[in-house]
Symmetry: C2
Subunit: 346 residues, 2 copies
């Protein structure tokens, strides 16, 4: 009705248009729409305003509100790569909590992969209230802090995050559970297929594997590094398994499920069977883990809950509260890829 036949675009209505339609001032509209009208505007008037707003299809202009309030209710989530199910889960959880508080989440998938983000963040294209950064290297954190925005780190070295709040999974416990499981089955010689990229999240795994295994005398851990692709893991595993001798590994501990898939393929090419000849373990519990045969023994990371906790922590920081930061428990999921080691041929 308003912008009749003048040919121009139907021009989004503003609070002033609503005010005109309801016969009140713009301020009254703002009060009503913001639910701050109790005791300031008569109930009947408020209703008139709401009706007018509905009829005009009024939607507040976010840019104007953001400018006025000096905040945007938008957080940036920095993740290494969204095509990794784990991070997709983190996003999902974070976005869920954010939505509950009327926050939006914009993503920054660091093109350089895990732990490598450092180039300019797209704060350019989004005004932000805070940053949630996942699995990042310490120097990248410093760059982030430069923005002066509230920052919460996910899955990062608490010591290296320079005072930023940190929310973590209990990865160390996960590796401990895996290693204990394998030790209990009787394994003593481990091959660790580790990520070639160094970062806290992977260093923790290596450290804890070594420490846990060392609790029993006579154990050995051989480490080989691989890029986080199936092909590279395959090659790395093949190389490592071709050696033999007294300490030939019987269990392959992989830094994530994708690497474990590479180990499966390597074993198959060498004519070896899992778990009869080798036990294999993963980390993350992606959908891969139940797709392969035998299904993979792995550690389930509660990705969505992790994202939820991270966003909750960021919101807490934004409100001046102290975030909860004790690590989230993880769970060993025993499937068909682990079994007692073969008896050594005498």
């Amino acid at each position: 009705m308003t912008s009749g036949t003048d040919g121009t675009a139907p021009a989004r209505p503003t609070s002033r248009d609503v005010a005109r339609a309801a016969g009140v001032s713009q301020a009254a509209v703002s009060l009503v729409m913001g639910d701050k009208w109790h005791g300031r505007v008569a109930a009947a008037t408020a209703e008139r305003v709401r009706t007018a707003a509905r009829e005009l299809g009024y939607r507040p202009n976010l840019a104007a509100r953001n400018l006025r309030l000096g905040r945007t209710r938008t957080a940036l989530l920095v993740v290494p790569a969204l095509t990794n199910e784990f991070f997709a889960g983190v996003y999902t959880g974070a976005a869920r909590v954010a939505a509950r508080h009327d926050f939006g989440v914009v993503l920054y998938p660091s093109p350089d992969g895990v732990g490598q983000a450092r180039d300019p963040f797209p704060s350019a294209s989004a005004a932000l209230d805070g940053i949630l950064a996942s699995s990042m290297a310490a120097d990248a954190v410093t760059a982030l802090r430069g923005d002066g925005l509230p920052l919460v780190m996910l899955d990062s070295d608490p010591a290296g995050s320079l005072g930023a709040a940190t929310v973590n999974l209990d990865l160390a416990d996960g590796i401990r559970q895996i290693t204990d499981h394998l030790l209990t089955l009787g394994h003593r010689h481990f091959l660790h297929i580790a990520s070639a990229v160094r970062s806290w999240t992977f260093d923790v795994r290596a450290r804890e594997l070594a420490a846990t295994a060392a609790r029993l005398p006579g154990t050995t851990v051989r480490t080989v590094r691989s890029a986080l692709t199936v092909e590279d893991a395959l090659a790395a595993a093949q190389r490592a398994l071709h050696t033999s001798g007294e300490t030939r590994p019987t269990a392959i501990v992989c830094d994530d499920d994708k690497l474990a898939t590479g180990a499966y393929k390597a074993a198959r090419r060498m004519g070896l069977r899992i778990p009869e000849h080798f036990s294999v373990t993963g980390f993350d519990d992606l959908s891969l883990a139940t797709a392969v045969e035998p299904e993979l023994t792995t550690v389930r990371l509660p990705a969505e809950e992790f994202g939820e906790r991270g966003m909750a922590a960021l919101l807490a920081v934004l409100e001046g509260r102290t975030p909860e930061t004790d690590p989230l428990p993880v769970e060993l999921v025993v499937r068909g890829s682990t079994a007692p080691p073969p008896r050594t041929t005498p």
Copy 2:
């Protein structure tokens, strides 16, 4: 240096602060920062402004700019579920093109799954210039149009998108390639594990499978519907395969790779081997496809390129240009899960 020891927050500098520092007016700063100063400001002055901006760490206030310009350089991407690698790829491609044009992308992962999005979009928390919507039901499209925002549909019925530009993959050709491949191998009786959710993207598959198979007399297609989970696909496949008789299927055509994984498991439980007893095909070419044994014959969807094309189309619409809309070619990837059918026991 600016806000010395007054105890208050270090307050982000504005263009006015820069102006003061450089001894010019705020307007001059705006001209210089916007690269519109040629012929209006002396080169030396411009340099002085830039230096001042750098020293103060000036970053333009996006909210103010958005308000002034009436646009936000932000697009909304609606996807069914981000934990699906395909959509993660679409996002990645879309975000890449967007970034190239200084656009941001905010996500709306529809909680209801493929084709079901319809609840209020979080335009609430983000001011948007346009919407890119993927794999949505027609009624949801109508709801979207209600916002009055420029809209580009991905992977949707061109007829049902009510005039919105549509960018598609050539899914029909993909199914044609699969079916031809199986027919050539000698298969005549198909089991189609179809998505229980009805939407254009899946209906196309069913239609084209039927049409292609029908070109040869004596072919049969049995269809069973399943939710898009491995477990459900497993159950559906088991049910369907227990029947036998003259037209017992020898090839299982699945609507996506995840369903195919279910078929693998069903076969394994029934003591049947792939591809000796059954050929199985998927759709999407997710990482699952090469993780399973045997590796899966499937159709590769260029997810990232699809996202790129979609965002490019949206940008074209925003600039008043006509977007490119011919379907993106897809490619059959033949792996170990397909082989000639077993000879019928006489």
